[in-house]
Homo-oligomer: 358 residues x 2
Amino acid sequence: MSNTTIKDIARICGVGVSTVSRAINNHPDINPETKKKIMAVIEEYGFVPNDSARYLKRSESDSIAFLVKGISNPFFLGMVRIMEQFTQKKNYAAILRHVDDDQDEVSVAQALVKERKLKGIVFLGGNFNHTPESLQQIGVPYIFCTVGNEDEFQMEGRPRVRDQVRYANVAVDDLAESEKAVLYLIEQGHRHIGIITEGLDKPSVGQLRFLGYQKALRERGMAFDPNLVYEIKTKSAERYTRENGYLGAQALMRDNPGLTAIFCISDVIAIGAIRAIIDSGRKIPEDVSVVGYDGIDEGKYCVPRLTTIEQPQSEMAEATIQFLFDMIGGKRQPDNLLMPAKLVIRESSGSGYRPEAG
Amino acid sequence: MSNTTIKDIARICGVGVSTVSRAINNHPDINPETKKKIMAVIEEYGFVPNDSARYLKRSESDSIAFLVKGISNPFFLGMVRIMEQFTQKKNYAAILRHVDDDQDEVSVAQALVKERKLKGIVFLGGNFNHTPESLQQIGVPYIFCTVGNEDEFQMEGRPRVRDQVRYANVAVDDLAESEKAVLYLIEQGHRHIGIITEGLDKPSVGQLRFLGYQKALRERGMAFDPNLVYEIKTKSAERYTRENGYLGAQALMRDNPGLTAIFCISDVIAIGAIRAIIDSGRKIPEDVSVVGYDGIDEGKYCVPRLTTIEQPQSEMAEATIQFLFDMIGGKRQPDNLLMPAKLVIRESSGSGYRPEAG
């Protein structure tokens, strides 16, 4: 029986052709027992899936949407790439959707679900400022990934959405990781550490990382100086840019003659800051140290190489998309996944001890 | 009649609600006369589209697919971002699909059309090596963008697919633009110019840019030296990487003591090459000049800033997606659009005259 077709397999197993197709394509919507049986029959009869079987017409609703805020950030794009490949292997279509800064991504999601009958949604980037009611209306499995989410960090005085609705979330501990980066700079002897951040007026990644910066200063008994804070305020979801890092470092150097280090809440911002520092005639790290956040490929090759908080990009992307498919398949309940980041010390940072300060 | 609903408008115009929705949403699939009439009625009665009208359930087939080869290249990702936003404004979904190096994107497209009932396809990156027969089977409007396409450059001894099937294509003249970059290096006095390229064994962007390099040497009566060619051979669609640029520059410096310049067929490759040159203790541009190709944002901030062939990224992306929608709307026939690139001279290149060579 060398020319076994997909129809033969379906007949032998007593299931429909579409069920066989689901088994072959590793589709999550299939009873594991049924799948096992089908795969055993396929093994026995030597059926090799051909193109017409693989591309068997599927429901158009088999799509996952990726809603991205800050889409020009290479960090997010790297994650989309990994998740799209995973989605493709599952034979789902990946719908990419850029969300503007002034758009609410949950409303966008609700509309997309109605229009496209999605099977699941990944929210990437941006901030978590959603109500339990709006989350409950999404109607399909969804997950947040690298979204600034104060819910996870038990910030005082704010009600936790998680206490009212369970949702899935994958992130690093933005507050603690920033604290780690700034503690490292303090240990290197830096006493005038600037920060380039954004979104301080609302719950955001920038706010969380800024709070980590403040916490590190407090722990070491250092005074907080508002002059050392540069807040990016451009009106666009694309605030994590080299240009904003450049402008931020220029302003910090102008306003703080004693500045010896800058912590940037993203790598692209840090790379812009490096350029501004070099253009000002200062040396890195001899005059000014720079620390970024993310761990993008560009930071391994830039001159000087960038010290950074490296988020586990591939692991986070894989965990996120796997989690989503597990929820779609009913195998897992929404939950919070906090992953560890690490401080990677490269060439852009060094001692903050200065002769005149000694 | 302040509470005019979409149903009222439809009744007044004598059309269906979905037609009114198409008019409101600037959908291309609508008779221009009908649209004009509907918009006039809307203006007269003061109807303001609300969410329920805007999100009126649409056919799930209103999607555009973006098939990308080399998806980690920031140049392509920047284009996807622009085209996705355009697609979103047209109220279509953008399906993102990464195509592996060993996959034929036209076959992938044919399968997607069957599965998803797409309205149109953009092929981004990769090489043009398709037969008229396979192109004719796609079945929906499609366009190639920044695809290495020898068809456009009248390469001798090869039959042109364009003579047998009309297809839409947006690109720069890869051969002529590379020639321009290398002529510039020769004019600067460089006599030992390396190249980091890829895909020399088949029609490809790398081959076209390599042919431009050879042509420039020939024009100036310089001998071609195979030792000065580094061909990236990693097995993956992601060959345009900083790492490959790093390895390429290392090899070229090792094999060519007299090397004074490297032309790289992309900016990310050039940025990796810069890092390798600096790590070897050489100065840029005093010892080695580097020229890239693409014009990505990273090249404006890296140290030293990158001299490059700047493709008109935004204009190409906008022209491509506009062209596609025009074809979908029946307003335009497939055609070839060659756009001009420009040589942008920054800090990574300089004089090639050396005391010992004088």
